[in-house]
Amino acid sequence: MKSSYIPATKKQQEEMLKTIGIKSIDELFSAIPDQLRLKEDLNLPDPLSEHELKKQTQELTNKNYDASRNVCFLGAGIYDHIIPSAVSHITSRQEFYTSYTPYQAEMSQGILQAMFEFQTMIAELTGMDAANASLYDGASALYEAVILACRYNNRNEVVVARSINPEYRKVLASVLRHSGIEIKEIDFYCEGDKSGTVNLESLRKALSDKTSAVVIQSPNFFGIVEDLKATSQMAKEVNALLIAVCDPISLGVFEAPGNLGADIAVGEGQPLGNPMNFGGPLLGFFAVKKPLIRRMPGRIVGETTDSEGKRGFVLTLQAREQHIRREKATSNICTNQAMCALTATVYLSLMGKKGLYEVASQCIDKSVYAYNSLLNTNSVSKVFDAPFFREFVVKPAIHPKKLNDELLKDNIIGGYDLSTDYPELKGCWLVAVTEKRDRAEIDLLADRVKNICQGGV
């Protein structure tokens, strides 16, 4: 059957061929050496109709345990927050999602203004002077930040807390492998009231006049809020930049990194209204202090005026970008994550100042409640002492992997098994509790954990 996506009819195509002056479509491909021309159809499944596709795809989704039918306590960088219904009613507007990079500003004022608003919100949240219009994800935002730092101060060592998201550390390591930039990792306190936070003594020792930047995450991967101020002071002492990896929801209650000495703030914007989507697309955000503005990677929208003096928005500072500067560009990024940024913008508009604070504080209330409930079962033990945001580490009596397998039977998606990334945290379990969870769900978790650990079912 003819595809309903290709409007030209056979008859029309005949006429077009006539206009071009050839006899068959095949002639159009005569520049392709015959030996390269496929003689047979690609080996792909026969086409499905919409209805068949729907049925088959539903069969695929039925093999998944998703968070609409299961209660999710998994976080580790991607969070199951409440997403207001209005968000997708905006992002599904065709004029937005079927457009592309606003190269032609006059017919793209919608997305340009929205990106300008996004940049403003990110700058506000992080306390920075400017933000770009998105990068691929938190991990790529981080490598861009490190590259910026090293080019900026012409140094080639970065000091990275091991308490940042291991996924980011892995990406950083592979992308920088051949760049000549060296990564020094800093451990975290394992005991005491600062346990779970970056080891400041080790950090101080690692710093030198070769240090381009210090990378620290707060709340860190264990959910613990770091002392950015102390870190930034140490960085300043060796004239290194501070790169803060931050969580946008937490910035509803915690001080902005920009006010604590960070030079670059990056992070993952998924929690701002973007579904988890099995990990993609995500939303890298990137904000800097003034001196670094012209070195930012990615698209940036700026305000200007039209020929009649009316306010308007355009892509700006393009001289940084690859399509102009080629190998000297600040980054190679072209296609970015604009729709995810739009999502975040709409989400934040809906939540407002007050709603964002409410989400953040409910995350605290509910994670504290879950932490205490779990400890009360006597089936898990304490690991760290410092206060946390939305996420915490405990050590269950049985191995996290086994525990998660059992919990799944009760439609609970358990926490993250820290064994994989932190040998020193073998058997530890990272549990996330967002505002979306209610008491009954948390109580059920505690109850099931208790039963499973105590050998009951």
């Binding site: 595809s3 029309q12 195509q13 159009l28 491909f29 392709i32 390269l36 159809d41 080996n43 086409p47 499905l48 729907k54 088959q56 695929l60 998944n64 345990y65 039918r69 998994l74 409440i82 507007r93 004029e95 592309y100 190269y103 032609q104 006059e106 017919m107 004022q109 997305i111 929205a114 990106m115 300008f116 608003e117 506000e124 306390g127 691929y136 790529s140 592979s174 992308v175 915690f254 001080e255 099995f278 990990g279 993609g280 697309p281 940036i300 200007t304 005026t305 039209d306 009316k310 690859q322 080629r326 990024i333 296609t335 970015n336 729709m339 913008t345 934040l348 508009s349 407002g352 100042k353």
Partner: protein, 483 residues
């Protein structure tokens, strides 16, 4: 219509637009739990608006935007084809959107199966051995491919290969990606036919060359006829060939990069496979590699074991990770739906029609516009407005005038090797009637450019703003609203 304030400018203290459950757990005293220094002193200036305000504001903004669903969008190199609606529906199923990437394979077999099948399908389309879906866009695919090239040479203890060759007609992401991975970039010129200058290439090739990046058809929309010769030459000198798949829409089911001799190829799902571009993204840039490069692919690799899908992290030669998790999953779902509904003949028909459409426009404009390399093109072609520019109306002016006529302009001033370039890519999803109307508009503008070039300079007049001052924006950047 009149209202173009920023959302911040609509904020009213105390107004709310959210609806959250009332917490049913004990309230924690944040101030006593956390050190005061850690807590926010001033609330961020997030606007205080109602749901009504938000919906109206962004609905209005959407109405000031132009997408493929609004009309013809022949933005060359970007393949702005129609995005079938069923693909959106599939991507928005709870069973996909509400999946956490770290759940583990047991509870995500549906996702993993889809990723695995996409690897197989794209491998077949590209003529490659295996595909990773991790890269978030074409440029990240390039970076990944270049990292693999580096890893490959390094694994052979061949450390002197520091150069990547790119044609001068190449897209900016090619050299930028090469630089990012730490390569030295060598540009080679195009010949008078708009193709890689074989002699120049020959001169550049030596044992410091890690690889060549090429898009084929190239950015002029021309098929590199000597591709087999080129790949032989590069391989002979020990380099690898990277295929920039931005232009795959010309050749699906007709020819395959793998067969041309490319060792690595990316494909832009957001172009060729019809996933929406979303005002700039997200995209997805999977890369396929030849057999000997499979060990270097990023981790994890999705494998099938009996009837189960697993994530293989145990790959000692892997370059590691280039992005969190497994790629832009929901974009991949859309591309999967596209392939499933098009089938092998449908994909081929898409490419054939895309090429037919481009040649049709080219033919109908060749008398009024200069077409520097005027022969049968593939899915796009580049014309030059030099004739018009001489008279005062540049490619930019023509582009802005197209806006008033309801078209998104073609890509302008790219590739860099063509003066006053306008790169026209109609795609297969446009009807002959639309092409004819666009041709008519372009012909009218050519005429106007002769008779009244000044009138083009005043365009656009019918958009929501008149021509915007880009110089001012860059000179004194205002990048955020402030109170």
């Amino acid at each position: 219509m009149r209202d173009e304030r920023l959302i911040f400018e609509k904020s009213v203290e105390g107004r709310i637009g959210y609806s959250l459950p009332i917490s049913d757990v004990p309230k924690v005293n944040i101030n006593s739990l956390f050190d005061g220094n850690l807590l926010r002193e001033n609330s961020p200036e997030i606007p205080e608006v109602s749901e009504v305000d938000v919906i109206r504001h962004y609905t209005k903004l959407s109405q000031r935007n132009f997408g493929v669903d609004s009309g013809f969008y022949p933005l060359g190199s970007c393949t702005m084809k129609y995005n079938p609606k069923i693909n959106e529906d599939m991507a928005s199923l709870d069973g996909f959107t509400q999946m956490h990437p770290l759940q583990g394979p047991e509870s995500s077999q549906g996702c993993l199966e889809l990723l695995y099948r996409m690897d197989r399908y794209l491998s077949e389309i590209l003529g490659m051995e295996k595909v990773t879906l991790q890269p978030a866009a074409g440029a990240q695919g390039e970076m990944t491919g270049l990292m693999i090239i580096k890893a490959y040479h390094t694994s052979r203890n061949d450390h002197k290969r520091v150069k990547i060759i790119v044609p001068d007609s190449s897209h900016g992401t090619n050299p930028a990606s090469a630089a990012l991975v730490g390569f030295e970039v060598v540009h080679i010129p195009s010949d008078e036919r708009g193709c890689v200058d074989i002699n120049a290439l020959k001169e550049t090739l030596d044992d410091t060359v890690a690889g060549l990046m090429l898009t084929n058809p190239n950015t002029l929309g021309l098929f590199e006829e000597d591709i087999l010769e080129i790949s032989r030459m590069v391989h002979e000198c020990g380099g690898l060939l990277y295929y920039d798949g931005a232009n795959m829409n010309a050749i699906m089911g007709i020819a395959r990069p793998g067969d041309m001799g490319f060792d690595i190829a990316h494909v832009n799902l957001h172009k060729t496979f019809s996933t929406p571009h979303g005002g700039g993204g997200p995209g997805s840039g999977p890369i396929g590699v030849a057999k000997e490069l499979v060990p270097f692919l990023p981790v994890p690799v999705v494998e099938k074991q009996d009837d189960c899908y697993v994530l293989d992290y145990d790959r000692p030669l892997s370059i590691g990770k280039v992005k969190s998790f497994y790629g832009n999953f929901s974009v991949i779902v859309r591309a999967f739906s596209y392939i499933m509904t098009m089938g092998p003949q449908g994909l081929k028909e898409a490419s054939q029609t895309a090429v037919l459409n481009a040649n049709y426009i080219r033919k109908k404009l060749e008398d009024l516009y200069e077409i520097p390399y005027n022969r049968t093109c593939m899915h796009e072609f580049v014309l030059s407005a030099v004739r018009q520019a001489k008279n005062g109306a540049t490619a930019l002016d023509i582009a802005k005038s197209l806006i008033d006529r309801g078209y998104h302009p073609p890509t302008i001033y790219f590739p860099l090797i063509v003066k006053e370039a306008m790169m026209v890519e109609p795609t297969e999803t446009e009807s002959p009637e639309t092409l004819d109307q666009f041709i008519e508009a372009m012909r009218e503008l050519a005429k106007l450019a002769e008779e009244d070039p000044e009138s083009l300079k005043k365009a656009p007049r019918k958009a929501h703003v008149t021509r915007l001052d880009e110089v001012k924006a860059a000179r004194t950047p205002v990048l955020r609203w402030s109170k």
